[in-house]
Symmetry: C2
Subunit: 491 residues, 2 copies
C-alpha cells in the first residue's frame, strides 16, 4: 500500500510524482530522461489507444509504420521545420561496437561510422513525405489518410514522468490532400476527434483554438490545439492538429496531376497526441488520497473485497460473489475479485483507493444475510449499501454517473479558474498566485507575446475557435486589440 | 492492378519481393535497411498483434514499455549476451545538432557528446532486468509476467523486406520466476502459444524443438523454437522462447527473499515474434497469382464486385447487395463492396486476387433475377454459384474451409519435403536441389554442425521436442548419434 505521499497543498509537483510512482504508473529508467511505463500505467495507455484508434478508423484512417531513423539532411529540407525541431535530438553516428582492447567491455568501432548521421525521429513529417512522393502521382491517389503509433525522441534537458520525457509514445497522423479546403477540413476534423476523446473518455473539458504564430508547429501554417486546465492552475496542451499547407510537399517535391491535367503540390496535415495525456489524466482528476480514474479508461472498473473472519466465511462469500461478478462483467465492465488472504480488507481498501479504481464493492457475512453489498465511489468517496438484486444495472449506471461527475467537476474547476483580466497588474497578480486561464486583450504581435512570457512565464495557450470579436486594448502594450486570447502558464 | 510479376519457378526471391511490394505490404525507405510497412501490410500485422496480445493476456501477461536506449555498458554485463548481440547496432553518440557555419543545413554539435554511448535496443533483456532489480524484493513480487510491443534495431548488412531488416517490430516477453521449474514451464507455455498462433491463425504448420548450443540465443540456457518450411524448401524460424536461467539476474544482481528467508537469484525467460512472420505468411501460402491470406488474418475477408452495364443496373445491384453485406458482417466478417466506376470488374478481380482477399463475390443482373451470387475462392481459385438465401452461413463456413485448406496444403507440402537422410552425398544433393527438412543423425558437437554449415549452408533448425531416440551414425563425422535432428537452409 502506498503511504507517505504529498498533498496538492503541500507540494503539488511532489504530489504528482508520488501518484505516478506509487500508483505504479511509471518510473525513471537508467537512461536519462527515458521512462519505464509500468503495467498499470500501460494498461491505461492501451485503453486510450484503443479508443483513439477506433475513432481514427471510423473517420477513414489506416495505420502504417515508417522508419525510426531520419537522415540528417531531411531536416534541412523544410526551413522552418529544422529551426523549430532538429536541435535537441538523439543522433546515431556509428553502427558497430567491438571488444575493447583492454578486455573490459565494448567500445564504438570507429571504422563503422555512418556516411550521413541518422536522427532518431522527433516527429516524422520528413521521412513520411519522402515516401509519399512515390505514392502520389494523380488526384486518384488522394487523399492519403494515415496514422502511425510510434515512439519518438526529443532530447529534453528537464524531464518529468509522462509530461516531458526524452522518449515518449504517441500517434502521429499524416494526411495528403488535393485541395487546401480539404486539408483544412481534415485538420479541424481531427481536432474534433481529440476534443471528443478528451471530454468523453478522459472526462477533461478542453478549449479548442489555434496557436499564435510564435507557438505554431515548426512547418505549419496553422496549428489547432485543445487546451486543458490542471489543478494547480497551469495549462496543458492536450493535442494538436496542424495544417501544413504545401510546405512539406514543396520540400519533398510531391506533386499530383489534377483532373484537369495540371501538376500541383499536395496539401498536408499532421496531428498527434502522446503519453503526455497520461500526465493530464493524473493531474485533472486525482486527489490527496491518490489516483482517480474516469471509468472509461480504468483498466479495472470495479473491485470486490470480501470481509471475512475465517475460511468458511470466505468460501460462503466467494460463492455469493461469483454470480455477482459474472452479472457485472456481462455488461462489459471489468471486475476484479480480491480474495487474497495475505492482506487485510483495510489494506486493500487503501490500495484500490490509491490506484483510482472507480467502484469498490465490499461484502461480508451480514451482507450475505441481508442480500446487500457495500458500494464505495472513488470520485466522491461516498459509501452506500445496495440490494444485490439487479446489481449489474446499478453498477453500470453508477459508472456512467462517475464518468459524468468527473467531467462536471473538472469543468466547474476550469470555470472557477477562468478570468477576464483587464489590467496588467491584475494579470501579473493572477498568474503569480492562482494561475488559471486568463482572458486578456493582446495586440497580436509576437513581440508583446514574448515580453509577456519573459515577465510572467505565461504564454498564449490559444485563440479560441469562433472567438467573440471585442474591441479592446492590449493588456501589455495598450495598443488596439480585436479579441481576447487565453493566457496561462503551461506544462 | 499489379502486373509483370515473377513466378516462383522463374525467380523465387523476385516473386517474394514482387508480392510484398506490388500487394502494397511494405517497401524500402530512404534509410538503408529500414522498411516502410504500408497500410495493407500493417493491417495484417495489426490482426496478428491483436490475436497474439489476447493470447498473452489470457495466459496472465501484462504489457509495459521500456526505453528504446540501452547504456553501452549494460551489454557487457552478461558475457555471452554481448558476444552474441551487441556488435552490429545503432549507436547514439550525440544529442544535439547545430546550424552549419556555411549556412547549409545542420551538423552534429561536437559539444553535445554523450558521456556514455546509447545503443538502440536490439533486444531488451538488459534494460528490463536493470528495472526488475528494483521491482523484486521477495517471493511475493514473483512471478513478473510482462510483454512489450516495440521496435528494435539490428544493423543487418543484407536486408530483405520483413525477413531481415535493420529496424523491425516485435513483441518481447520478459518474465521473472522464483524457481527453475516455473521458468522452464513458462518458456514451454509460450512456445505453445506461438505454435497455436502459427497453426490456427497463420495456417502454418510448425515443428517445436530446441536449438543446438550453437544456435541458442545469446545468454540463454535453452532456446525453444518453432520452425516452418517455405515453398522454396528453406526453413524460417517463426518464434523463439528462451529459458535464461539466472544469467541476467546474476548480471544485474536481482535477488529475492524466499519464503524461508534465504536470498536467491531470480529465474528468467524471454520470448518473441516479429514482423518476420509477415514474410513467412507471404511465402507459405502465396502463389503465382499473388498473395494468399488465411481468412483469420485477412483485413478484408470478403469483397463484393457488382457487374453492371449502366447506372440503373448498378443501383439495382447495390440495393440487393446492401442486405447481403449486412448479413455477412453480422457474423463478424469484414466485407468490402467495391462499386467504384473508375475500374472494370476484370481489373477488380485481378486486383483482389493479387491482394489475397479470401473470398470474392460477384453479382450481376442475371443473379438479381435468379437470386444467386458468384463465389470465388482465392485459395483454390474455384468458382461456384450460390443461392443468396442464408449466404452469411455459407460464407462463414467457406472461410473456415479456406483456413483449414491452407493449413492442410502447407502441412502436406512440408510432409512431401521432409526426408530421412542417411548418407552425406544424399544430404548434400538434397540441400543443394530441393531443400526441405532433412532428418539426419548428428554427433552432437558444435564442430560438426559448423563444418556441415560451411560445406552446405544448412544448419540445425532444431532438435524436435519429444524426439524419438534412435541409435545411428552422424551423417558427417560417422560418430555415434542418439537421435535425428532437423537440418535445412534457413532464412
Amino acid at each position: 500500500m502506498a503511504k507517505d505521499f504529498s498533498t496538492r497543498e503541500e507540494n503539488y509537483s511532489q504530489w504528482y510524482n508520488d501518484i505516478v510512482i506509487k500508483a505504479d504508473l511509471a518510473e525513471n529508467s537508467a537512461v536519462r530522461g527515458c521512462m519505464v511505463i509500468k503495467p498499470y500505467g500501460y494498461a491505461i495507455w492501451e485503453k486510450m489507444q484503443a479508443s483513439l484508434d477506433k475513432m481514427f478508423k471510423d473517420t477513414g484512417h489506416s495505420n502504417a509504420y515508417f522508419p525510426i531513423f531520419i537522415p540528417k539532411s531531411f531536416f534541412s529540407k523544410e526551413a522552418s521545420h529544422v529551426e523549430g525541431f532538429a536541435k535537441e535530438c538523439a543522433i546515431v553516428t556509428h553502427y558497430r561496437l567491438k571488444n575493447s582492447p583492454d578486455g573490459k567491455g565494448v567500445i564504438v568501432d570507429e571504422d563503422a561510422k555512418l556516411e550521413e548521421e541518422l536522427i532518431v525521429r522527433p516527429t516524422s513529417e520528413t521521412i513520411i513525405w519522402d515516401s509519399y512522393r512515390n505514392w502520389i502521382q494523380s488526384y486518384r491517389d488522394l487523399p492519403i489518410l494515415i496514422n502511425q503509433w510510434a515512439n519518438v525522441v526529443r532530447w529534453e534537458m528537464r524531464t518529468r514522468l509522462f509530461l516531458r520525457t526524452a522518449e515518449f509514445l504517441w500517434q502521429e497522423g499524416h494526411t495528403a490532400h488535393a485541395t487546401k479546403e480539404e486539408a483544412l477540413a481534415e485538420a479541424e476534423k481531427m481536432l474534433d476527434v481529440y476534443t471528443e476523446f478528451a471530454e468523453k473518455f478522459m472526462a477533461i473539458p478542453v478549449i479548442k483554438g489555434v496557436k499564435s504564430e510564435r507557438e505554431r508547429f515548426a512547418g505549419a501554417l496553422e496549428t489547432y490545439c485543445i487546451e486543458a486546465l490542471m489543478q494547480d492552475g497551469k495549462a496543458l496542451q492536450a493535442g494538436t492538429s496542424h495544417f501544413l499547407g504545401q510546405n512539406f510537399a514543396k520540400a519533398f517535391d510531391v506533386k499530383f496531376a489534377t483532373k484537369e491535367s495540371t501538376l500541383e503540390y499536395v496539401w498536408a496535415t499532421s496531428w498527434g497526441v502522446s503519453t503526455r495525456l497520461m500526465g493530464a489524466l493524473v493531474m485533472v482528476h486525482s486527489d490527496d488520497k491518490g489516483l482517480v480514474l474516469p471509468p472509461k479508461l480504468a483498466p479495472t472498473q470495479v473491485v470486490i473485497v470480501p470481509i471475512y473472519k475465517n475460511a468458511e466465511q470466505l468460501k460462503e462469500i466467494s460463492a455469493k460473489v461469483a454470480p455477482i461478478k459474472k452479472a457485472i462483467e456481462s455488461k462489459g465492465i471489468s471486475v476484479k475479485y480480491d480474495d487474497r488472504d495475505t492482506h487485510k480488507p483495510g489494506w486493500k481498501f487503501a490500495e484500490y483507493e490509491f490506484k483510482g479504481i472507480p467502484i469498490r464493492l465490499a461484502i461480508g457475512p451480514r451482507d450475505i444475510e441481508d442480500g446487500t453489498i457495500e458500494v464505495a465511489r472513488r470520485d466522491t468517496l461516498e459509501k452506500a449499501v445496495y440490494q444485490q438484486i439487479d446489481i449489474e444495472h446499478k453498477i453500470e449506471n453508477l459508472l456512467a454517473q462517475i464518468q459524468e461527475n468527473l467531467y462536471d467537476k473538472a469543468l466547474s474547476f476550469r470555470e472557477m479558474n477562468t478570468h477576464i483580466v483587464n489590467s496588467w497588474d491584475e494579470f501579473k497578480e493572477r498568474v503569480e498566485n492562482k494561475g488559471g486561464f486568463l482572458l486578456a486583450h493582446w495586440d497580436g504581435t509576437p513581440e508583446t507575446e514574448e515580453a509577456i512570457k519573459n515577465e510572467t512565464k505565461a504564454t498564449i495557450r490559444c485563440i479560441p475557435l469562433n472567438n467573440a470579436k471585442e474591441a479592446g486594448k492590449c493588456i501589455y502594450s495598450g495598443k488596439p486589440s480585436t479579441q481576447r486570447v487565453i493566457f496561462a502558464r503551461a506544462y
